[in-house]
């Protein structure tokens, strides 16, 4: 039987506010345990939540970024359950009426097609603390620094039909939240957390199969692996005549499998009700407009502009707009080079991209600044050096040996364009190889390339290859 996969994602984005969603404690990552947990975060008696304007503005940003309706009025509810990292015994979360309503997002697939994924809603809520299970002589340690950090939970429609689509969507959300400056997107630190609802159904069926929710996926690679494992697991169950249980499953990256979470007994009885300590959140048109005017150029807009303004292929434009920092770097490079956008794109994507990849660096930590790379490209364009020598110069720049001009000067890499000097080298090569000259004159055109190579070698790569080619022909054809 042919099966169709149905995937929906719930993405929790930690909002990049200074302070927590309902308290004035810091949200900074990595402090010592409980140094950023104030009475509100600790759930001390009598203290009360007050909503952070920054968190609301960021939620609205996301809403505008996905073309969603912003709810004029939304409500915070309490989700009641007991867990040691949940100090109040309830999580404040928007339940029935979220601040961001229906929106959508376009993802580019590998075959070049574009697919629209629906976003059902996005709602504000508070994060819980962390439980540390190691090294406390059989006890669990509770760190509440994270408790109360604002989260935006972005819930997609079940619109994805393969793990690849799910990954593309998750990446696109990550790109978007980073563009919007509302989340750093760091999956290792848990700033962006992806839960996947996945089910399969016979191809052509309109009904959804029973889904499993997969948690604990902290990279895109694991997301893809977890989904692949889970799809295969469900297929085997169904093909053996079994039924899939609706449950939450944890992905274990070491074993590369999903495992059923021991069901918390009354997991489904959260006793939601409107939080009486908070009033309905009203977001008026003026607030929305004040957020809108601050919106940066969004990834899709930037991609389209790169295509039209720089004449880049769609692929290049997609790669270069994958993050705001990369796009900014690219544009600064082109500006410094004084043009040559396609050459710049190639350099940023391949040469620089290779170095960053190899060294595990982010574009913001690039060892070569956009200014410096632009300078290098300028020297290629004005023929001071060839593209090949440029790679040598670039390596030196990466190694911190200075800017392009400095490296070219220090290493004497300036291209030889002096006709007399090139002719002298040609004469030497031609004189030393009478056999090849004969072959050429007998009609073996390919030998010309060999001669070019020899002359380039003699110039240690510095001769202008076009000039070499031209002068060689003149000499041999004479």
């Amino acid at each position: 039987m042919q099966w169709e996969t149905v995937i929906g994602l719930e993405i929790h984005a930690q909002l990049a506010t200074n302070s927590k969603i309902f308290s004035g404690a810091s949200t900074r990552f990595g402090n010592e345990p409980n140094r950023q947990a104030c009475p509100v975060d600790l759930g001390l008696p009598g203290v009360l939540p007050v909503l952070n304007e920054g968190a609301v503005a960021m939620a609205v940003r996301l809403g505008l970024g996905i073309g969603a309706d912003i709810a004029g009025r939304s409500v915070f509810a309490r989700k009641n359950y007991f867990y040691p990292d949940l100090p109040k015994g309830y999580q404040i979360s928007q339940y029935e009426i979220p601040v961001v309503g229906t929106g959508q997002l376009e993802i580019a697939l590998d075959d070049g097609t574009v697919k629209t994924i629906g976003v059902t809603r996005a709602h504000l809520e508070e994060d819980a603390g962390k439980s540390l299970h190691e090294d406390f002589h059989g006890m669990t340690g509770i760190d509440l620094n994270r408790a109360g950090t604002p989260l935006l939970e972005i819930v997609s429609e079940p619109d994805m039909r393969s793990p690849a689509e799910a990954v593309a969507y998750a990446k696109k959300i990550r790109t978007l939240v980073r563009y919007l400056g509302i989340c750093d997107g760091n999956m290792q630190e848990g700033s962006l957390r992806v839960d996947a609802n996945v089910s399969i159904r016979p191809a052509g069926s309109q009904e959804f199969g029973t889904r499993a929710e997969i948690k604990n996926v902290n990279s895109f690679r694991f997301l893809e692996k977890a989904l692949n494992f889970e799809i295969e697991r469900q297929r085997e169950i169904l093909e053996d005549g079994g039924t899939v249980q609706q449950e939450t499953r944890l992905y274990d990256a070491n074993a590369d499998e999903t495992r059923s979470m021991r069901t918390k007994e009354e997991a489904n009885d959260y006793r939601y009700f409107p939080d009486p300590d908070l009033l309905p959140l009203e977001v008026d048109q003026a607030f929305i407009e004040s957020v809108r005017v601050e919106l940066p150029e969004l990834p899709d807009e930037k991609r389209d502009r790169f295509i039209s303004e720089y004449g880049l292929p769609v692929y290049d434009a997609n790669v270069l707009t994958a993050s705001r920092e990369l796009a900014d770097y690219y544009e600064a490079t082109v500006a410094a080079a004084g043009g040559a956008p396609k050459v710049g794109a190639n350099w940023v994507m391949s040469e620089l991209g290779g170095v960053l990849n190899a060294q595990g660096l982010d574009i913001s930590d690039s060892p070569v600044s956009a200014q410096a790379l632009g300078g290098l490209i300028q020297r290629i364009q004005d023929q001071t050096i060839s593209g090949k020598i440029a790679k040598q110069v670039f390596e030196a720049m990466v190694a911190g040996e200075g800017d392009a001009d400095g490296v070219i000067e220090a290493k004497g890499l300036k291209q030889i364009t002096d006709t007399g000097e090139i002719e002298r080298m040609i004469d030497e090569v031609v004189d030393a190889n009478p056999g090849q000259v004969e072959q050429y004159r007998a009609g073996k055109d390919k030998v010309l390339g060999w001669f070019v190579g020899q002359v380039m070698k003699a110039s240690r790569g510095k001769a202008n290859p076009e000039q070499v080619n031209q002068l060689l022909r003149q000499k041999l054809d004479a």
Binding site: P45, G46, N80
Partner: protein
């Protein structure tokens, strides 16, 4: 059991300090008749000598009180004194006090010292008021008799075998016993007004949002409101002026200037005042003694120029049922934070996390608190939410609409505060539903968020009877003014329990 009158004596001499009202003490301080340290020491001595009789106080803060009194005296000497500078008062032990235990009447918080002050506590300290100590209360303010306190019941100064009412029973008994001239209370379903009525005091539950809830241990967040308990409407006006105000730390606090309640008292006139008498309040359930007193007040107000108007609050009989869904539902969630992890009571030798939760909470909470948590948990649980919680919220709307319509016709509403006078300790403690009915006249006000006041109106069988005045939102000034005018013409509020002045 009434031993006589207080206030200016017949020969023109002033009564002893402990028998004076807040307004009188403020004058004595301003006139230099007494210092705050002297006054404070006098009250502390009385508390230490007499608290065993009533069990009004859980904690007495002698050293801190004397230090605050010294600051007040120094401020006054330096020309920095407000209207209430140096006047000692007591706080209900539900208000968090930095460095002083806040028990909320519970074993759960017997060891809890908040690292912050409630906004009410801070506001009153900034107004120069001196805190004598923290008063007894029903555990987590859940009760109408002060019998659910972990620290034991409070005896009513009018008859020590009887309850003082609750949940602010310690505050009421302390003021009635002249251990403090005024005290703070909180009112979720009648917890200021009912003990005020049973102890012969004036007590005001302000409009929801008028007094900050920050630092006030939450019982039912959409109903809770702090307010004053004192002997006179004038004293309540003075105290409310110090307590009230916008607080950015409480999302439900209203950003609206605080009226000059005390200054406006004399400007309120009873002439032509339309006083609504809800027919539903005068039906069955009210004891004959109480009925006689309430009728008498209506008549007296008419004589003083007011115009009684019969009105209807049609859904009155649904207020107790709706309240016993809304309040326990909110409480069940509010009290989840008491889990033995970060503060408060923790059971011995927990076997696992579930055991830690269940025993810490099972041992730390008393029976009534557990009952209400269970009722609230049930009402919110899957399958029951619509039938209980949502239904109650709808009835809450109907009750509010009744009041909205009533206030189109009348200026204030008059009725009984409690259906009976103070009942004997133990009489209702085994019958939760009978206890809940004690609040039948006070609960609707909390559901609608309205201000209401109870004032002494007479006696039945030697026990004080209070009447309730309900006002429209933010109409505290009018309620206090009407009560003040009534108190100018009567002396019920000047009666003193026997033995108190011995």
């Amino acid at each position: 059991m009434i031993s006589g009158r207080t206030g200016p004596t017949n020969d023109g001499s002033n009564p002893v300090m402990h028998d004076r009202t807040i307004a009188e003490l403020a004058r004595a301080l301003a006139d230099g008749e007494v210092s705050s340290v002297e006054l404070t020491r006098g009250f502390l001595d009385r508390i230490e000598a007499r608290n065993p009789d009533s069990n009004s106080f859980i904690t007495i803060t002698r050293e801190q009180a004397l230090a605050e009194a010294e600051v007040a005296d120094a401020g006054r000497a330096a020309g920095r004194a407000g209207a209430l500078t140096g006047v000692p008062i007591a706080h209900k032990d539900i208000f968090c006090t930095d460095g002083v235990r806040t028990s909320c009447g519970s074993r759960m918080l017997d060891n809890f010292e908040a690292p912050y002050d409630a906004t009410v506590v801070r506001n009153m300290r900034e107004a120069g008021l001196v805190m004598l100590g923290k008063t007894n209360m029903d555990e987590f303010a859940m009760g109408s008799s002060n019998e659910t306190s972990y620290y034991g019941p409070v005896n009513n100064p009018w008859d020590p075998r009887r309850v003082p009412g609750g949940s602010s029973g310690g505050s009421a008994a302390a003021v009635a016993a002249r251990l403090a001239p005024g005290a703070t209370g909180t009112d979720t379903g009648g917890s200021i007004r009912q003990p005020a009525a049973m102890c012969g005091l004036t007590g005001l539950k302000p409009t929801y949002g008028r007094v900050s809830r920050f630092g006030m241990v939450a019982f039912a967040s959409s109903l809770d409101q702090g307010g004053p308990l004192a002997r006179t409407a004038e004293d309540c006006a003075l105290m409310l002026g110090a307590m009230a105000g916008f607080d950015p730390n409480d999302s439900t606090s209203i950003d609206r200037p605080v009226d000059d309640y005390a200054g406006a008292l004399d400007g309120v006139s009873l002439q032509g005042l339309k006083v609504g008498l809800p027919k539903e309040y005068f039906g069955e359930g009210m004891s004959e003694g109480v009925r006689g007193v309430v009728d008498g007040v209506a008549e007296r107000l008419r004589e003083l120029g007011a115009e009684p108007v019969e009105i209807s609050l049609a859904h009155t009989d649904l207020s107790v049922p709706a309240y016993y869904v809304v309040a326990p539902a909110e409480a069940s969630s509010n009290l989840s934070r008491f889990d033995g992890v970060r503060y408060g009571y923790r059971c011995e030798e927990a076997k696992n996390i579930l055991d830690l939760y269940e025993r810490s909470r099972g041992e730390g909470f008393g029976a009534e608190v557990k009952r209400r948590i269970m009722v609230g948990t049930y009402a919110l649980s899957a399958g029951y939410f619509d039938a209980y919680y949502l239904k109650a919220q709808k009835i809450r709307q109907l009750i509010s609409e009744d009041f909205r319509k009533a206030f189109e016709q009348v200026d204030v509403i008059l009725g009984p505060t409690s259906p009976t006078t103070a009942f004997p300790i133990g009489e209702r403690s085994d019958d939760p539903v009978a206890m809940y009915m004690s609040d039948v006249y006070t609960i609707a006000v909390n559901l609608a968020g309205l201000p209401a006041l109870s004032m002494p109106a007479g006696f039945a069988d030697g026990l004080p009877v209070g009447v309730q005045l309900i006002g429209n939102h933010f109409d505290e000034g009018r309620l206090l003014g009407v009560a003040h005018q009534y108190q100018q013409a009567t002396d019920h509020h000047r009666q003193v329990p026997a033995g108190v002045n011995d």
